[in-house]
Symmetry: C2
Subunit: 423 residues, 2 copies
């Protein structure tokens, strides 16, 4: 499938400037960006030509930490305290899950992703075969992150790593554990062994809450980052999710080792976990990505909300407006997220890169009158400005319609299955 | 025009429960809510019958503090420090404004309002005739709040009050001043005289920044709330915008006098002003509304963003999840905002109330699978869930289209005029 997008403005994300011109895709890749001559155009045979009418093409958002299948738990037990929420609401529901459930509930999340411009997700969950099926049907790019912990998964780590890194071009798998507080030192060490064998990066929930940090310090006399660093967890790179309670030394370790922080600011607000100080990470040279966390805790899967929070919350902590450059936030959302997941070809728009592209509707009132595009997108955009989403060269969402999802049937299926899980 | 909405679920906002049934409008009013008999239906003659397909009808959002015409300044000077932003960017642009400009720039904001479910705005600006024209053309319900200060407006206060409260059914006007820090005690006293003459409530920017509070304490030995209270400013009710730096006594005064706080959380984050602790206002019995502030400081005009912030930011200040009930936030956005503006018939959905109604698209993925509607709307919704907006019985926006605005012409007009203003 060769598609020509013309009359476009293009934000490649190599800079914050918009380029006027065309973007062509050939199967799963970008084959051209620029202003072609009439002769160059006439030599091509396009399957489809799309007039962008001046709208902006840019790389899709990478949801760098999520639990997609948790859509079943959205808005179900918002008023519960964290412990009750987990033990009385979430865990009993999760105990009922199987691949058929994770298939449906992930598919619902993927519909929300493509509608809101998310082209890849870094997904920590279980019953992964159901999620693979949903990814392949929708056309969603999913990289799993292991959620191994003392309740299971450590012994499956190597098998899953091999299986899901060989599960097709839309699927990947990264090693990791759920968190320090759910995983014994022995089990962390076992996981580290696998990472060392494959010289692979590792990821985990880390310093999400103050009590998590205090517990780790009580157990081991050091922060989670210091513990993982000491145990060789990060010898081949990787990173952590949430990173709310990092101290200066934690940030130094992340910076020196080239590790990635992933922020989940809306979930942290909703669960009263805290406010990640994005500006201090930037100041200390830590690269970061942005994720939505799962629908049970957030409750939306909305990268615009996350970007706004990442771009503004440090202002309060620092008593300074514009303490974070919105372009840094957009780079995190579009580019760094791809690097975190190992999707090196999905970061920017350039010839030869994967065609994971979204179109921003400049005719939404929130984008008018036009001024500084990047600032406007981060501070003023929301999901209604996403006009088209393409993953791996395939258009999955366009002008309000899904091309690979029968959305009404999906809602009905999710309604029935959510009823079973919530019963 | 008589319209029948059937197959609806209705959130009247009298409770948090959805009612299955029908809603009928007759001209500008709601004529029926409930489950009619076939006979009742057959007796009516409807101009239009709309199958809601199970989607939710609810009162529109009331944007209880904004400067609509400031769309010209959106994303123009985000990186400026507050003083430079005001004196080098905003004030020089505002000096060029006239009614023709405020007409176009307000009309653009009104398009954003109706697309995102806002059915009334409490608008503090100048060159009001242009804004009246835009309101009447679009069908937007606008209540002005005086922005009088030492640079002008105090002497016009009474004339404006009389003129704009007699300017048609969509327009209203409330007395007020811009802020303590821009208005001398003598001028505040003059404004209070007018309010006393008409026994009218008064409004003002208040305690938006820490330095504003400190300045007032230095000048008068008391907080702005205490000063205004002492000067009789609030003898006939009213309230204040922002209310970030209220102390306990300020909240006590607001509670005892039945004054309204209006929160503008996104603007406060972006300008590093602070975080309003919504839960402390609720705890102290202060009624509150929610506003977007202007597009220059926010930069969006998005009540969903504001609701999410109002519902979650106190969690961090109180170290407690669900510290604010999302239904309290939704009541503020839909109902209390109306009371603040004096629009007593625009608060809830009930027979005889004004037909200021929005339809929420339950087939947006962010609303699925269905669970607790109010929680889901506040925590997970964004502007893309607004399917229809009706003001004063007239549908202004439906399924992506505007009925009273030629949106492409408006964008072109705004582009040209913004270029002139920004030059």
């Amino acid at each position: 499938m060769n598609i020509r997008f013309y009359n476009a403005r293009i934000l490649t994300m190599e800079s914050r400037e918009l380029i006027k011109g065309e973007l062509w895709t050939s199967d799963d890749r970008i084959s051209f960006i620029g202003t072609p001559s009439e002769e160059e155009i006439s030599k091509e045979s396009f399957d489809r030509q799309i007039d962008c009418e001046g709208n902006v093409l840019m790389p899709g958002f990478k949801n760098a930490h999520t639990h997609s299948a948790m859509t079943f738990s959205r808005s179900v037990a918002d008023s519960y305290e964290l412990n009750d929420w987990l033990y009385k609401a979430i865990f009993p529901m999760e105990a009922k899950l199987n691949d058929s459930y994770t298939y449906t509930f992930s598919k619902l999340a993927f519909a929300e992703y493509v509608k809101s411009g998310i082209t890849a997700d870094f997904d920590m969950y279980f019953h992964l075969d159901g999620i693979v099926k949903a990814s392949n049907e929708v056309g969603m790019r999913t990289v799993f992150c292991s959620s191994a912990n003392d309740f299971g998964g450590i012994d499956r780590l190597e098998d899953e790593y091999l299986k899901y890194n060989d599960a097709g071009e839309l699927i990947g798998y990264k090693l990791g554990i759920h968190a320090e507080y759910t995983t014994s030192k022995e089990n962390i060490a076992k996981a580290v062994e696998v990472a060392h064998k494959y010289r692979a990066p590792m990821f985990t929930h880390i310093s999400e809450t103050k009590s998590e940090n205090l517990g780790c310090i009580e157990r081991y006399g050091m922060t989670p980052v210091e513990l993982f660093d000491k145990m060789g967890f990060y010898d081949y790179g990787g990173g952590g999710f949430h990173c709310v309670w990092f101290n200066e030394n934690d940030r130094r370790i992340f910076s020196e080792k080239g590790l990635y922080a992933v922020f989940n600011a809306a979930s942290n607000l909703k669960l009263a976990s805290g406010v990640p100080d994005v500006s201090s990470f930037i100041g200390d040279g830590v690269s970061f990505g942005i994720g939505t966390d799962g629908a049970g805790s957030n409750n939306s899967l909305n990268m615009f909300k996350e970007m706004f929070l990442c771009a503004t919350q440090s202002n309060i902590l620092r008593d300074k407006s514009y303490s974070v450059d919105p372009f840094d936030v957009l780079k995190a959302a579009c580019c760094t997220g791809a690097k975190i997941m190992g999707l090196d070809d999905c970061d920017i728009l350039a010839k030869g890169k994967k065609a994971d592209i979204i179109m921003i509707d400049m005719k939404d009132p929130s984008m008018q009158p036009e001024s500084v595009f990047v600032d406007n997108l981060v501070f003023s955009g929301d999901t209604s400005v996403v006009k088209m989403t393409m993953i791996n060269g395939k258009i999955l969402y366009e002008n309000g319609s899904f091309t690979t999802v029968d959305i009404d049937s999906l809602y009905e299926e999710a309604r029935i299955k959510a009823g079973e899980i919530r019963a």
